[in-house]
């Protein structure tokens, strides 16, 4: 490890912000529910990264423990979301957010 000390938590925060923005754009732009899930996961992981970075700046363990909770919540969300997608796929061949439009008004 030569001189890695120069990487301040700010760098990680910037990276996290960028990842969050990418995920956010993905959810808004992409139309495949699975890809949208992945983008939401990306957003959550960006948040995890910022938690860890802040945890490092404050030398406080709490930010790191939070990451565990977020991980578990994200996993639960994915399981539920995939369950719903599979339920829809059983009834129709493709799952595309634009095709799923029974509800309009």
């Amino acid at each position: 490890m030569i001189a890695a000390a120069d990487v301040t938590p700010t760098w990680y925060l910037l990276l996290a912000a960028a990842l969050f923005a990418i995920g956010c754009t993905g959810v808004l732009v992409r139309r495949n529910p699975l890809v949208m899930f992945m983008c939401i996961e990306l957003m959550l992981n960006a948040v995890n990264l910022s938690f860890v970075a802040f945890s490092r700046t404050y030398l406080d363990i709490k930010g790191q423990t939070t990451v565990f909770f977020v991980l578990v919540v994200a996993a639960a969300e994915v399981v539920v979301g995939l369950g719903i997608v599979v339920a829809i796929l059983r009834r129709r061949p493709s799952a595309n957010a634009d095709d799923i439009a029974e509800l309009k008004g």
Binding site: I2, A3, V72, A75, L82
Partner: protein, 125 residues
């Protein structure tokens, strides 16, 4: 080399030089062989190599839907283990209170497993 480069960036410079050299070398060798070798493609030659057996179907085959529920269950129980590791490292500090808490946690997880089992999810269809 300007001196106001941070030592950190200088560390990365090595990586960048090394990476570029590697890419150049690989490109050079591949390019040379492409120039020199004879080119006579046939259907058999351009087929994907699968240890001598003819490939069947598409590269992007869809896996069977019955796998997904195991995957989902696995993800759920796997991720819950994240709470057990930190607890295990600090077992003595948490003492009796921690043991009871973890017992409750694992018990609730077990209830989930019992539910999955009774719903027939664990059976191979």
């Amino acid at each position: 080399m300007p001196t106001d480069f941070s030592s950190f960036l200088r560390g990365w410079l090595t990586v960048a030089i090394f990476g570029t050299l590697g890419l150049l070398l690989a490109g050079l060798l591949l390019g040379l062989s492409a120039l020199v070798r004879p080119k006579r493609p046939t259907v058999e030659k351009s087929m994907a190599y699968e240890s001598g057996v003819d490939p069947v179907g598409d590269g992007w085959s869809q896996s069977q839907i019955r796998y997904y529920i195991f995957a989902l269950l696995f993800v759920m129980f796997d991720v819950e283990a994240v709470f057990i590791f930190p607890w295990a490292t600090q077992l003595e500090r948490y003492a009796g209170f921690g043991l009871v808490e973890m017992g409750v946690f694992v018990f609730v997880l077990l209830l989930g497993l019992v539910y999955a089992w009774r719903k027939g999810v664990l059976r191979w269809v």
